[in-house]
Amino acid sequence: MNEKNKAKVMIYNLFLILLALVTIVPFIWMFLSSFAPNSEIVKIGGSFFPTPTTLDNYMNIQEKFDFMRMFLNSLLISIVITAIVIYTSALIGFIFAKFNFRGKSLLFGVILSTMMLPWAVTIIPKYEMMEVFGWMNSYKSLIIPAMTSGFGIYMFRQAIEQISDEMMEAARIDGASDFFIFHRIILPMSRNTISSLAIFQFLWCWEDFLWPYLMINDDSKQLLSVGLRLFNGQYDTDYGGLFAATSISIIPVVVIYLIFQKQFIAGVATGSGK
C-alpha cells in the first residue's frame, strides 16, 4: 500500500510538472529570444533557446517605433476604463442587490443579456454612432462606450447581496444616506470583487484590439495591441524587436495580477462557478 502510494505521488507530481513546463516554456523562449540578435534567432539548427547576449532589441524598438508612447497610451486608457467600470458596476450592483423598483428584473435581464450578445452584432452600429458623434480618433470613443460591464454588475450584485441588511439599517438609523452607505460601507466590503474585476477588466482593455484599431488613426494616439501588429507589418523580419515588444506588452498585466492575486483567487473560489 505504501509503495503504491509513493508511486502515485510521483506520477501526480510528474504530470503537474510536465503541464507546468508546457505552460511556462513559451514565455521563457520569448523572453530569452528578446535578448538575442536576429542572426541567432533564425539560425538553422540552433539550440532550443537562443543565447541571450544583447539589449539592442529593446533599444531599437524605441528608436524605430514610438513604442513607449503607445505603451503609456494603453496604460492610461486601461486604468481609466478599469476604474470607471469598477465604480459603475459596484454602484449598479448595489442598487440591484439592495433596492426594489418597478421593472427591476426586466432591466437586470437586459444587463445580463449583454454577456451573451456577440460583439459582432453591436460593433457596426457603434462604429457608425462614433462617426456621427464625431468621436473618431479621440479617446472618448474608447472610454464612453466601455463605461459599464454586464459581467461586473452581475459579480457585484451577487457579492453585495451577501452583505447583511441589518448593517445597512443600523447605518440608516444613524442618519447615513445611501450615498454614504455605498461609499463607506459597501465599497470597502467588496474588496475581493473589486480585485477580480480589476484583473479581468484591465486585461480586457489592455488586449482589446479591434475597437482601438477601428477608432484611432493617429499613430501618436494608438494603443499597444494595435501597435504590435503595425510594428509586425512594417518590420516583419526583425524578430528580435518583435520578441522584445511582445515581452514588454505582457509586463503590466502580470503586475496587476500580482497586486490583486490574493483576493482574486479567494474571489474566484467563492464567486463564480455556481
Binding site: 533564425v42 454602484l91 432591466l107 456577440p118 459582432a120 452600429p125
Partner: protein, 292 residues
C-alpha cells in the same frame, strides 16, 4: 413647498443610478441591436453613403455563400475541440492540484494562470513564432518538419492548440473553486466504503461538479464562437480559406469590404446560433439530471 421637497426626494442615489442605466443601455445596447437588425435588411455601405432597403436579400446571399458555410463548419470544428480539451485539461489539472498528493499548490495555481492573463495579441504572436518552420520551438522540440500555419491541414489545429494552451488554466481555477466547495463528508464516506479513485470521480465528483462544468462549457462556447484575434494575427483566414471562422468573416466583410448590410445579417445569424446552443445545453443537462 411640499412640491419642491418631493422633487428633492426624487433626486437620490437610487433614482439617478436607474436613470443612468436606462439611458446608457438604451444608447449603447438597445439602439445598436435595433440598428443591426434594421441594417441587415439594407444594402449598407458607409463608404459610398448607401443605405437601400433590400428585404431579406442579405440573408439569402449569406446563406447561399460557400465561404459562409465553410466559416461555419470551421467555427464548429474550432469550438468543439477547444471547449472539449479546455474542459478535459482544466478538470484534470484541477484534480491534480486538489489531490492531497501534490505540493506547492498556490505556486502552481499562479503559474497556470499566466497564459490567461497574457494579452491574446501577444500570445498569438508568440505562437506564430513557435510554429515557424525555420526557427520555431515546436518543430525543434518534436523534431518535425511541418509548416504549421501555411498548411491547410495543420493551420486550424495549430490555432486550436494555442487556444487550449491559453485557456485551460482559467478553467482549472474555476474547477478548483468547484472542488473546494464540495462537502468533505461525501469523500470521507466513500473512502470508508473502499471506493477506488476512478469510482469516486465517476459517481461522486463528476455529478457534483456538473453545474461548474456547465458554466465552463457555456462561457467557453460563447467565447469561442466569437474568437477571431488569433486568426487575424496568425493566419488571416488562410491558407486559402482553411481558417476562416464566422467572426473573422464578419470582421472581414464589415471593415475590409465595408458591406455593413451583409455583415449585420451574419452577426444576427451568429447571435441566433449562440442563443440556440446555449438553451440546448441547459436543456440537455436538465434532462440528464432528471433521469439520474
Amino acid at each position: 413647498m411640499q412640491a419642491t421637497s418631493k422633487k428633492l426626494q426624487f433626486i437620490n442615489l437610487k433614482n439617478i443610478t436607474i436613470l443612468f442605466v436606462i439611458v446608457y443601455f438604451s444608447i449603447f445596447l438597445i439602439y445598436p441591436i435595433y440598428k443591426a437588425f434594421a441594417g441587415s435588411l439594407h444594402d449598407w455601405n458607409p463608404m459610398i453613403d448607401q443605405y437601400d432597403f433590400v428585404g431579406l436579400d442579405n440573408f439569402k446571399n449569406v446563406l447561399s455563400d460557400k465561404l459562409f458555410w465553410k466559416s461555419m463548419s470551421n467555427t464548429v470544428f474550432f469550438t468543439t475541440f477547444s471547449v472539449f480539451f479546455r474542459i478535459v485539461c482544466g478538470l484534470g489539472l484541477a484534480l491534480l492540484i486538489h489531490s492531497k498528493l501534490t505540493r506547492a499548490r498556490s505556486f502552481f495555481q499562479g503559474l497556470f494562470y499566466m497564459p490567461t492573463i497574457t494579452p491574446i495579441v501577444a500570445v498569438s504572436f508568440v505562437w506564430t513564432w513557435m510554429f515557424n518552420p525555420q526557427f520555431g520551438l515546436i518543430n525543434k522540440v518534436f523534431n518535425l518538419d511541418i509548416n504549421w500555419l501555411n498548411d491547410t491541414k495543420y493551420a486550424l489545429p495549430a490555432i486550436i492548440l494555442m487556444t487550449i494552451w491559453k485557456d485551460f488554466g482559467y478553467a482549472a481555477v474555476i474547477f478548483l473553486g468547484g472542488l473546494m466547495s464540495l462537502p468533505e463528508e461525501v469523500f470521507e464516506a466513500s473512502n470508508i466504503d473502499g471506493a477506488t479513485g476512478w469510482q469516486r470521480f465517476r459517481y461522486i465528483t463528476w455529478p457534483l461538479l456538473k453545474p461548474t462544468t456547465l458554466f465552463v462549457a457555456i462561457t467557453s462556447l460563447i467565447t469561442y464562437f466569437q474568437a477571431y484575434i488569433q486568426i487575424l494575427i496568425m493566419t488571416e483566414g488562410g491558407p486559402g480559406t482553411s481558417t476562416y471562422v464566422i467572426s473573422y468573416l464578419i470582421y472581414d466583410e464589415a471593415f475590409v469590404n465595408y458591406n455593413f448590410g451583409s455583415a449585420s445579417a451574419m452577426s444576427i445569424l451568429l447571435f441566433i446560433v449562440i442563443g440556440i446552443l446555449t438553451i440546448l445545453m441547459f436543456k440537455v443537462t436538465k434532462e440528464r439530471e432528471k433521469t439520474i
